[in-house]
Symmetry: D2
Subunit: 256 residues, 4 copies
Amino acid sequence: MNDTLKIADKVFTSRLFTGTGKFGNHQLMEDALLASGSELVTVALRRVSIDGEDDDILRHLHHPHIHLLPNTSGVRNADEAVFAAKLAREALQTNWLKLEIHPDPKYLMPDPIETLKAAERLVKEGFVVLPYIHADPVLCKRLEEVGVAAVMPLGSPIGSNMGLKTLEFLHIIIEQSNVPVVVDAGIGTPSHAAAAMEAGADAVLVNTAIAVSGDPVRIATAFRMAVEAGRMAYNAGTAAIRTQAESSSPLTDFLN
Amino acid sequence: MNDTLKIADKVFTSRLFTGTGKFGNHQLMEDALLASGSELVTVALRRVSIDGEDDDILRHLHHPHIHLLPNTSGVRNADEAVFAAKLAREALQTNWLKLEIHPDPKYLMPDPIETLKAAERLVKEGFVVLPYIHADPVLCKRLEEVGVAAVMPLGSPIGSNMGLKTLEFLHIIIEQSNVPVVVDAGIGTPSHAAAAMEAGADAVLVNTAIAVSGDPVRIATAFRMAVEAGRMAYNAGTAAIRTQAESSSPLTDFLN
Amino acid sequence: MNDTLKIADKVFTSRLFTGTGKFGNHQLMEDALLASGSELVTVALRRVSIDGEDDDILRHLHHPHIHLLPNTSGVRNADEAVFAAKLAREALQTNWLKLEIHPDPKYLMPDPIETLKAAERLVKEGFVVLPYIHADPVLCKRLEEVGVAAVMPLGSPIGSNMGLKTLEFLHIIIEQSNVPVVVDAGIGTPSHAAAAMEAGADAVLVNTAIAVSGDPVRIATAFRMAVEAGRMAYNAGTAAIRTQAESSSPLTDFLN
Amino acid sequence: MNDTLKIADKVFTSRLFTGTGKFGNHQLMEDALLASGSELVTVALRRVSIDGEDDDILRHLHHPHIHLLPNTSGVRNADEAVFAAKLAREALQTNWLKLEIHPDPKYLMPDPIETLKAAERLVKEGFVVLPYIHADPVLCKRLEEVGVAAVMPLGSPIGSNMGLKTLEFLHIIIEQSNVPVVVDAGIGTPSHAAAAMEAGADAVLVNTAIAVSGDPVRIATAFRMAVEAGRMAYNAGTAAIRTQAESSSPLTDFLN
């Protein structure tokens, strides 16, 4: 079966997107990302903007199957986001962009108003925009209307590893969306990732849970398998929840 | 790394145990069980006790890597369990036994008192006993004391597909047990199975969720991958849950 | 202790806000609202806009302690909301307004963009605005900045009775807000209402769960008590969750 | 309406049972218990067994509406429990007994086997037995068969304040039981207590959450109200959970 994911003009065979933050060193990052099988890797602009660095992060991301997804992490409003996006396009030679606007330094929650405003402008300027947002079904539709390539609702606060606290709202988003839905933020374990895929998400983005693990390469492999397992289960159709028990085995009636 | 599971004298490379109930037909069952990679398959005594059946279930379970685990599904007390166990040993030529005693025909909840009584007798008679029980930490220790080979606490009611409702108690059981812990009943999706493995369970038993799926072979494959992913995550060490956000990316401070 | 709630210029002793929809008849509604002790009752514009109705709803809401809170239920954008708000002000002689904008007819999820736009205009026109919104911490701050009198984040989808699915985000909103936080939508049982108050919400709004109950007067009384209990617990400080057991009783050591 | 609870020969108007452990001092305990309205108060044998104590705990429990419920906290098997029960009957002049047997000093989980054994003996010796047990539906039925006056399944580990982790199993127990069901252990907040009552529990027992609060008298009052609210909601019939939104207000169609 051909179960690929298309976003804008790119076709992905892996539904596990990853990030580059928080790894102990660049080599470990590279090894983990290769183990993950990820074909879309987000990178903060700042990581790539310093000239003359000896061990530049980009060198470690230079693999034919890896597409870069610059992000605007740290910007606080639409103007800063558009500015950062253009710098990123210049520096990384790609018009793909993970749009993140979070004015709140403590919980890093995304700003729905500035995100929509920036998305609209960036789409008009030719960017392929993937906005990181709250799991807000109406906001997702409005972003879709201005032309984003996918939506990236959060599962729980960034870096919290709490999993799919927003599941009820992700169900609605997935049901209503005409663009791919990528669950981003809060996914702390492979089972969380599998659950997102079982719920019908098109992909997940995992960073912290891989980067801060005691064994990033192994956990990256685990996430890869869990995402495939969850997707496979979604395609097979998972069983419904029942409120009354039903025996798997025929009750042994020879005793009666 | 050599991460095998030993129960009594047998070594397993797969940590996904399966069952034979509820499949549409024997061939479909065989295909799904092969896809699952399972090396321990439980079968109800009644399924194998009819002479002269044309398409006997055992023929479909006859693979070198598959060990049979007869179960006593349907018995209501210790006496019936011991009687059924001996019949099963005779019929299937194995002293392994999944001990299930559930007097309640509606929710099929296991009986702790009769299970302990039967376990003690069966161990003395040379059986390798794996009892299916409530997620009761003290009962697990008492069963361990009488010599069971593993404990099989439930995740939620049989056939409910509700997942790990007993997680808080499974944590305690896993922490305290000196015999393998196999989570049985209630596992409805691959993400549930992965979560059990991440929590440190030694194995899971899945039947209904595979058998009643629209595509048992594919979902069996998904469960196989999810169990491996969950185990791998457990070995790698999963990330802790945080209550405050932490950005994966360095905040873009070039804007300041 | 004087534990009142102030919103704009009004002081409330009851923290249970209610609605008027879905009741079997107006008399039953009146009886239930009186039993609830509610001092702020939301009413849809359409209910009050028909001339010459024999049993007008307003007659049943005419009690000295009950303040009306007209809502804009059914409008799909800011323009419609402003228009409806002015009609409501005229008809009900109050500048208080529950601002609801939900373009989605299936799940009735609120629109963050139009809600902020309308809130800004209505505040400038002298309305006391209480917007119904997703549990989005940044949106709450932005609404606070344009001058709303309180924020009304949802607990779960309207009419779902699922309780506080958004609890993690409500915690953040409550921590950060400088205006009262009223949890609206999804509260299906008194225990849900108590949990919202224990989490530090300033008030809750309950409608469906009272109106469609088999006994609205009794359930309204139950909600009143639960809200008071939850608030009292919040003020007393609730106990922390522990991960290891601690006996309430001294262990009986005379046996040793 | 006359909604009292009968256990053995006693009729209770309050469904909030309490304990005496962990309070800062006896006077604070007395004040909190009076505020709770509780008519059944459990007390560990050891607290009352020291002669010549200046401020004996019993003096603070000497109120006409308060019945004492001695408990066997700390015993590790049936023999110790029976011995402790007889001492308690002698010392407190009551044949009521909360039977607690927990061999595990860390999590204080109850032992199902010893509890059933002790219960059978104590019932035969004329005790009114209320056993504290895991939320195990079959064990509850077996205890009922040997004549216990009520069953006391746990909500979550003692002192954990985690609430109703066992809710799925409590539903089954409540559906099947012919004796009163008292949820004991783990209830940390008034909303937890209300939820237990809404689920149909006959009563709850709360100790730690009251005793260790910063304001035991106020939190005791909150628990009293929450238990009444939850019971009232149960009697009124709570609303069902819906998976699709339904507006409380008529959608404002005058705009169309």
